[in-house]
């Protein structure tokens, strides 16, 4: 892990080279394409969705896929495709918010811990260790259980669990970057600690964070869906993939498409982010590709 960080940091080559390797990685391209499709759906969803995601029509309940309802209707007669499209919006928005908040917290605390070291470092990293001692989703479950169900509380819970990884990664990067000569050179021109941390060290530590955040998107979408599935996240009638799976559970045997399509949506989204994350990691760390065959 540490070696990989050091290599990613040391690969200070132009962005063009990274982009070149990324665009020549088929898997990464598939990932990017999936994510772009998803983003388009999330943005223009309300325009293209064939029906309203919330209005119930009990006369049309539990219909299989047809021309009018491409993915069928649920137990309250709502179009499944429409709900999945609206669900993309809330899933992505939730995940982006959670990851962004976690990255900002983790980045800051990791930077401070790594730069100052000593007691500050010990305090922050021991808190991280304690957080990491709990299985993530269980810890989030406890937090949401205390705060009460709801999407906002799920977000708070997942941010509290998720920032630790970024803090650890950031601290590791800072520890190796701060020993570099250019940090000493920055001191030699009279720069103060704040300037050195944010202007000279931080940008040099971002590459591994970008990789981790991309992979984290997939992880968070899955975790948020899981909490909604357990009834803690988005509440009915909000269209949300995890919540859709939960309500479809009752009809799993008789109307399997109700579970299949939201499940597929989650899977494709997570897959897209994971493929892109892996591609980014390889693109930013060219040495790792030096497998024995090459």
């Amino acid at each position: 892990m540490h070696d990989a960080i050091a290599r990613i940091i040391s690969s200070t080559e132009p962005l063009a080279g990274v982009l070149h390797r990324l665009t020549h990685n088929k898997m990464a391209i598939i990932g990017v394409a999936t994510i772009i499709c998803l983003l388009v759906v999330a943005v223009i969803g309300p325009i293209v969705a064939p029906h309203d995601p919330i209005t119930q029509d009990l006369s049309q309940r539990l219909l299989g896929p047809s021309r009018q309802f491409p993915l069928g209707t649920d137990e309250l007669g709502r179009c499944v495709l429409t709900r999945i499209i609206y669900g993309a919006r809330s899933s992505l928005l939730t995940a982006v918010t959670i990851v962004a908040a976690a990255v900002i917290i983790g980045l800051f605390l990791g930077l401070v811990a790594g730069y100052f070291g000593g007691l500050v470092d010990e305090t922050i990293m021991r808190v991280v260790d304690i957080m990491l001692a709990f299985p993530g989703i269980i810890f989030a479950l406890v937090i949401v259980g205390i705060l009460g169900p709801g999407l906002l509380n799920v977000m708070i819970g997942l941010v509290l669990v998720h920032w630790t990884g970024y803090a650890r990664l950031m601290r590791g990067s800072v520890l190796s970057v701060k020993e570099q000569t250019f940090v000493e050179a920055a001191r030699a021109i009279g720069a103060g600690p704040t300037r050195i941390m944010f202007r000279h060290i931080l940008p040099n530590c971002l590459a591994p964070i970008v990789v981790m955040a991309t992979l984290g998107m997939g992880h968070i979408i899955l975790a948020a869906a899981a909490l909604s599935f357990l009834g803690l996240g988005a509440q009915p009638p909000t269209p949300e993939w995890g919540a859709m799976l939960n309500s479809a559970r009752t009809f799993m045997r008789s109307h399997s498409y109700l579970m299949t399509f939201p499940g597929l949506a989650i899977m494709l989204t997570v897959l897209g982010f994971n493929l892109l994350g892996d591609g980014l990691r390889d693109a930013l760390d060219p040495h790792q590709k030096g497998s024995p065959r090459e």
């Binding site: 132009p14 250019f182 030699a188 021109i189 009279g190 000279h200």
Partner: protein
């Protein structure tokens, strides 16, 4: 002649920086390493002084002590560093920051790693200007272009937007010099500024340092292990051995009338065309955790006396401005 004399006197009375009994130790598990132990020398305004010595003799530690940029395990235990009539060791962190980069600038050995890989050349030079002169970003960038031109980079405006990895070794070292000049320092500390460059470039960069010094009325402390390089631009040489000063003299005197045995050995260990063999100095640099008693050079000195291993050598002024720390001179 008279002119030279008055200039000399003016200089003697007018040191820009003087190190007095400087002691810098590093603390490690093996014990305290006495990297700089009672160093005394001063540099007059407008002078170029070469600090010479083997690796590990405390040259860089001296530079970092002046900048007060020692690593966390290093500590200045005693002495004074008088710069512009104030003791740098008594300044607080904020006051020291206003001196670094603006009054004292430093050029590092490895320009390749001393430039931040994610910031453009322009940003890095402009940073010094905005930090110390309160200029706007735009003004600072314009000034940065001037500086790049001054250090001899062609097409400076385009270079501003480039990154260090797009530069060659010589260009990076010139950029480091431009950064150092940006604060208009009165003292430039150049720590092995050309060690990473090849022959012709070494000469070019040294010449550049010399020209900048004259143009901008600077004082230069050149740190190097290479006597020949120092001779190229220095007026006076300070030879260091194991954390102490061995000898200081005008550069010509060092080459014609070196008095300290270490300096003489050092001169003979310099590659020469007519010599068949390169002479080496026997033994190795002493362990600075427990340095030899008396004169630190006595175990390797071909002319060591009995007293050399017992008492620290006295400082003897052989001639004007030529100081030697050696028992042999006493006799």
């Amino acid at each position: 002649m008279r002119w030279i004399l008055t200039r000399r006197e003016a200089r003697v009375n007018n040191p820009l920086i003087s190190l007095q009994n400087l002691k810098t130790y590093f603390f490690s598990e093996a014990g305290s390493v006495r990297a700089v132990d009672g160093l005394d020398f001063s540099i007059d305004k407008g002078e170029t002084v070469g600090l010479i010595g083997e690796s590990g003799c405390g040259k860089t530690t001296t530079a970092l002590s002046i900048m007060r940029l020692l690593p966390p395990n290093g500590q200045i235990l005693g002495g004074k560093i008088i710069f512009d009539d104030q003791d740098l060791l008594e300044l607080d962190a904020a006051a020291m920051r206003t001196i670094r980069g603006s009054k004292i600038a430093m050029v590092f050995q490895e320009a390749a790693t001393a430039l931040n890989p994610v910031l453009t050349i322009g940003e890095q030079i402009a940073e010094v200007i905005t930090l110390h002169q309160g200029a706007t970003h735009r003004e600072a960038l314009r000034e940065a272009a001037h500086l790049l031109e001054m250090v001899g980079l062609p097409d400076p405006v385009r270079r501003l937007t480039e990154y260090p990895h797009q530069f060659s070794g010589g260009m990076r070292q010139r950029t480091m010099l431009a950064m150092a000049m940006a604060g208009q320092p009165s003292l430039l500390i150049a720590d092995e500024p050309v060690a990473a460059l090849d022959g012709p470039l070494q000469a070019q960069v040294l010449e550049l340092i010399d020209n900048l010094k004259r143009e901008l009325d600077m004082t230069v402390l050149l740190i190097t292990h290479n006597l020949a390089l120092a001779a190229a631009i220095c007026e006076r040489i300070v030879v260091m051995y194991a954390g102490e000063m061995a000898e200081t003299a005008p550069v010509a005197t060092i080459f014609t009338a070196a008095a300290h045995p270490y300096t003489q050995c050092l001169l003979r260990a310099t590659p020469q065309l007519k010599a068949d063999r390169l002479e080496v100095i026997g033994g190795s640099v002493p362990d600075l955790v427990s340095p030899p008693p008396g004169c630190r050079f006595h175990p390797r000195c071909p002319w060591a006396l009995e007293i050399c291993s017992q008492q620290s050598p006295p400082t003897v002024e052989v001639s004007g401005g030529h100081l030697v720390n050696c028992w042999l001179m006493k006799q």
